[in-house]
């Protein structure tokens, strides 16, 4: 494994992405340390998902670079992804695969010769062992999300990236997801980078928040510090303030 600066599992510098006339991401810089729990927040269209996709090597930045566990993308994408797990609340499970088959498949894609034991451990961690024999298209959206997170954590990644993990989950399942993630981070030292529109959840789960608006990082710090910097009581109020400002800017550009 290459030498890593400090204990950083993720480094991104000067990320820029332009789609036709829209500058989706404009100079984002981000570091995530080992074991750190970070939320990437912002209103719709702020550039969160494009940033995540660049961090994962799925989208190429127009300029800037990304390094995961010391591996520079895109040249060492495969080596980098051996240390990353990704799950998104909006991704369905492939049809015609049972949950265990799906998890075995991804365990092997992560390089594990026989992931059966890890699959059972992962299912148990999130209390969904009973779903192991179900077909992917038989699951509810909450169950799909849980299976997706199990998939993303099978190989004990150093960085877990979750895009809207608890969207459309009821509070009970969302709590189970949060508890499972906290346990995982504590037991295995996994760093977490998560996007969410649920600010209460973010405040409970993450020790650091990075607000993105108009493609820029506009705040980076502990939840309480960020709220205070904007003169607001909590992250929800900061979020609403930024969303309002983004809407005003969009209206001005239309004029």
């Amino acid at each position: 494994m290459p030498e890593v600066a400090g204990d950083l599992v993720l480094r991104a510098r000067g990320l820029v992405k332009q789609y036709k006339r829209v500058r989706a991401v404009d100079g984002v810089e981000l570091d995530v340390a080992a074991g750190e729990r970070v939320a990437l927040l912002g209103p719709n269209g702020a550039g969160k998902t494009t940033t995540l996709m660049m961090l994962l090597g799925v989208v190429s930045p127009d300029s800037g670079w990304v390094e995961v566990c010391g591996y520079r993308l895109p040249r060492h994408r495969s080596e980098a992804m051996e240390h990353v797990g990704f799950a998104a609340g909006y991704l369905p499970l492939p049809e015609r695969l049972r949950v265990r088959e799906f998890l075995q498949l991804f365990g092997q894609l992560y390089g594990m010769r026989d992931p059966a034991a890890k699959v059972e451990l992962g299912l148990a961690r999130f209390d969904i062992t009973h779903l192991g024999g179900a077909m992917g298209n038989e699951l509810s959206s909450g169950q799909r999300t849980l299976v997706g997170i199990v998939k993303a954590t099978l190989h004990q990644p150093r960085l877990l990236v979750l895009d809207e993990p608890t969207a459309s989950l009821d509070p009970d399942v969302a709590l189970r997801v949060r508890n499972g993630l906290e346990r995982l981070c504590a037991e295995e030292g996994t760093a977490l980078l998560v996007t969410s529109h649920n600010m209460i959840e973010v405040e409970r789960l993450c020790e650091r928040v990075v607000f993105v608006s108009g493609g820029h990082v506009v705040a980076d710090g502990k939840p309480a510090e960020v709220a205070a910097a904007f003169g607001r009581d909590d992250l929800e109020a900061v979020f609403l303030h930024l969303a309002e400002r983004a809407a005003e800017q969009a209206a001005e550009e239309r004029l």
């Binding site: 369905p92 894609l109 992560y110 390089g111």
Partner: protein, 263 residues
């Protein structure tokens, strides 16, 4: 390249085949339909024209059996990739250590199994109903099948590249490209039977020379290594072009963020 990943991809597509009844059309229904259709046409017209009906049927059946090598190779690789887009699995795969070459090798491995099933079906029906034994082509089958296999995969790489570039609208080419090649390749007739304007196009296709060589073997003239050589050279150009095109389309896919079409 990690073998465990290649096997995992092949197994994933095997599960899809087992659980998707419509996929059995490719490996059972179409081969049976084609064998019965072309065997019967050959038998009927061969007899009507006062010739040897079985020999005419043999020419058509050899053509359709070899065509199935091309068809099965192409369709298994292109629909294998499309399965990932249909089930929104592309983002899941792109965020794993899986390399493009490992994915391709996995689907090709699965495709070989599917090809074996499809070609065995069409060959057995030809043998059972029309007493045509494709192994009568002898060892000549090896280069003929090898070139058709490679051409089928190359066409699929072009189709996958187009899907990455323009989205699911290009899916029809998985079937359409083969349909276009079929009449131009002289599967059932020599190139001289084609309209003059189309003959240069036909000569530029490696498949044309494979089928020409196969007809020569059936006629008892032996395997024409000249035809095989031309087919191999044209296939090499096609493969190089297909790989270049796919790599370029994948770069465009990442640059323009087309993953958003598949989530």
């Amino acid at each position: 390249m990690r073998w465990v990943r290649v096997k995992a991809i092949a197994r994933r597509h095997w599960y899809v085949l087992l659980r998707a009844p419509q996929r059995w059309f490719d490996v059972v229904v179409w081969p049976v339909v084609d064998a019965v259709l072309f065997g019967s046409i050959g038998l009927y017209f061969g007899t009507q024209s006062g010739g040897n009906g079985e020999q005419a049927a043999g020419f058509l059946l050899a053509g359709i059996i070899l065509f199935h090598v091309l068809f099965q190779a192409e369709i298994s690789l292109s629909t294998g990739f499309m399965e990932e887009t249909w089930s929104s699995n592309l983002l899941n795969l792109l965020t794993t250590p899986l390399r493009e070459v490992e994915y391709g090798a996995g689907v090709m491995l699965f495709g070989l199994a599917k090809l074996a099933m499809g070609v065995t079906t069409v060959s057995l029906v030809a043998l059972a109903l029309f007493a045509f034994d494709v192994t009568s082509l002898g060892l000549a089958l090896i280069p003929l099948v090898a070139i058709l296999l490679v051409v089928g995969w190359a066409i699929a790489l072009f189709v996958i590249g187009l899907i990455l570039r323009v989205g699911q609208g290009a899916e029809i080419l998985a079937w359409g490209a083969i349909a276009l090649i079929m009449p131009l390749s002289g599967i059932f007739y020599p190139v001289s039977a084609l309209p003059d304007a189309l003959q240069p196009v036909a000569q530029a296709l490696p498949t044309t020379h494979v089928f020409e060589a196969a007809r020569g073997v059936l006629a008892g003239d032996g395997l024409s290594w000249t035809q095989i050589g031309i087919a191999a050279a044209e296939s090499a150009v096609l493969v190089a072009g297909a790989i270049w095109f796919l790599v370029a389309m994948l770069a465009t896919f990442r640059k323009r963020g087309y993953i958003s079409r598949h989530v």
